[in-house]
Symmetry: C2
Subunit: 336 residues, 2 copies
Amino acid sequence: MANLKQLAQSLGLSITTVSRALDGYADVSATTRERVREAADRVGYRPNASARRLRKQRAELVAVTLPSDPGHIGPPHFLDMLSGCAEHLAAAGLNLVIAPVPRGESELDICRRFVDGRRVDAMLLVRTKRKDERVEFLQSRGIPFVTNGRTESLTPHPYIDGDGFAGFRAATLRFHAAGHRRIGHIAGPQEYFFAHDRCRGWRAAMEECGLATDLCAEGAPLEQGGYLAALELLRHPSRPTALVCATDEMAIGALRALREVDGGNQISIVGHDDLPMGAFTSPPLSTMRMTGEHLGASFASLLLRAIAGETAEELQELHAIEFVDRDSHRRPLRAA
Amino acid sequence: MANLKQLAQSLGLSITTVSRALDGYADVSATTRERVREAADRVGYRPNASARRLRKQRAELVAVTLPSDPGHIGPPHFLDMLSGCAEHLAAAGLNLVIAPVPRGESELDICRRFVDGRRVDAMLLVRTKRKDERVEFLQSRGIPFVTNGRTESLTPHPYIDGDGFAGFRAATLRFHAAGHRRIGHIAGPQEYFFAHDRCRGWRAAMEECGLATDLCAEGAPLEQGGYLAALELLRHPSRPTALVCATDEMAIGALRALREVDGGNQISIVGHDDLPMGAFTSPPLSTMRMTGEHLGASFASLLLRAIAGETAEELQELHAIEFVDRDSHRRPLRAA
DNA sequence: CTTGACTCCCAAAACGTTTTGGAGAATCCT
DNA sequence: AGGATTCTCCAAAACGTTTTGGGAGTCAAG
């Protein structure tokens, strides 16, 4: 409630001494240190954050930009991730501000505002694109940041990501091993790294198996996008018998398309993200997800290490993808 | 990139003039104003946020505490709500920081830290309890805040909430009108206002219809809580034929219990929240939700008005509840 | 020529903290 | 006793902005 000056006056000490006592410096005697601390507790003194930030030239803040483009925000785990991240950051004295992108502004504008206005010490980026202007900007400014998702940036930067290539390759190979030969891919917008990475994984597997890679349709990473893409693949002269979908939401849209076209249950399907609702679709949606326990904490920890000055190469976490097998990936394979 | 001093020097002006030019004061000539603005643009000058905050005695920050108690955080819309809220606040120059509660600390501790450390100008509270110590604290400090959910606080405070009482009363009456006589309620923890409010709505309807109110079981507001509560009600000598559940998650748990006990499909059920996954349960879950378009924006707007000094009474928004009818509320009613 | 109003600008204070660079007193060593 | 060392403490600067309270200069009216 009070400030340092008043507290110092009431104790008959200088501002300096009170400040140092509270910070536990050794150059104030144990006696006065205790006296100061007790008085501070009694008055409920808390240093004024703005003043400290100005003096220490640190904002004690980190921002994460929330993409608002395609209707909604990431998987439902996303808030939990953010929350875990914020909690971990808070333990290091950093608060997390969420920065949605208002219409008419770009994510780059946001970064600029936060960085150049010295509003934050570091940034968190999600939904990276293969060529991501935010990354380029932050690199040019030399401000610490971690991305959730890789980019194709030539100079390395810290990230945390799932190995979509390996995951989608494995899923495709598994379909092949189960006898499928016409395996389609429902892809997300290819400017996003994750979408392109997953697409590459599918393509790699198909080529390893000597199969054609024409059964691929791209759509918005939403239910509707998956629906439309699936309809497109179903119109193909030789229909797919299995579908590997870039996201669960798209997979759910694809399920709707399958139901409409042939009553469903004919075509195997697998998604990615492990959305809770996947457990309730019919058939229950088989899916994949990034391994790892406390992703939010990892994210935060990478950022803290980046702030501490570790080099980008040490700060790249690529997590394996694991299958979450339910039912949709093992529809009976009928002869063509 | 530069600060006011450097910018002023490079222009041969005083700091004062540059500052006032940028803020558009009338006491600097149009000519110099333009000159300053153009120079500022060229250098990419942005005022240092910490300095401004210190001087203006405003943190330009708002915090929302994220409850971490029961495993996860609110309905999935929650992040969208927060995002909309943050966007609206940002337009007024306020940034939203999310403040999850670390283990070992209470939400009250968080409020204290943020408020007494002058880290925020206002607060947002979610998941209110009937008697909420955070509300009491903020009221005692006189800092603006808005809650998402009402409380039983004697002195009024700004809130935005759904009319759970009316919604659950209506849902119960509808079951009664459909011929149900043994209508059970699966309640959330009664210390939460929303849970108690919804329970009261059910109870009021039952009493209006002259029905006993003993078919009520309380549980954690999670799938498992609903499951256990449903099992409890199903053990009752005269089983319910319909179930009104405090949340969709609990309703989904109840559906699982029903499936296990009698193969499901015998008992009508309705939840609240309109979780996306409700569309995929079997039977598809009928539910309710708060009316209103941009809840996040409303939330933010209430807060801005609170900061502007409007009185609490003008800042209470109670939204009607609307039904989202799918299938689970109209199971055939069999004779007892 | 003086007065008052108006225009454009600025020096300095203030916000509340942290940190620098000592100062004075006590203690230790020789 | 005298110098070196250690222990406590503090005055003042600094962080970068906004705001206060004028100060010159110009112009028109008296």
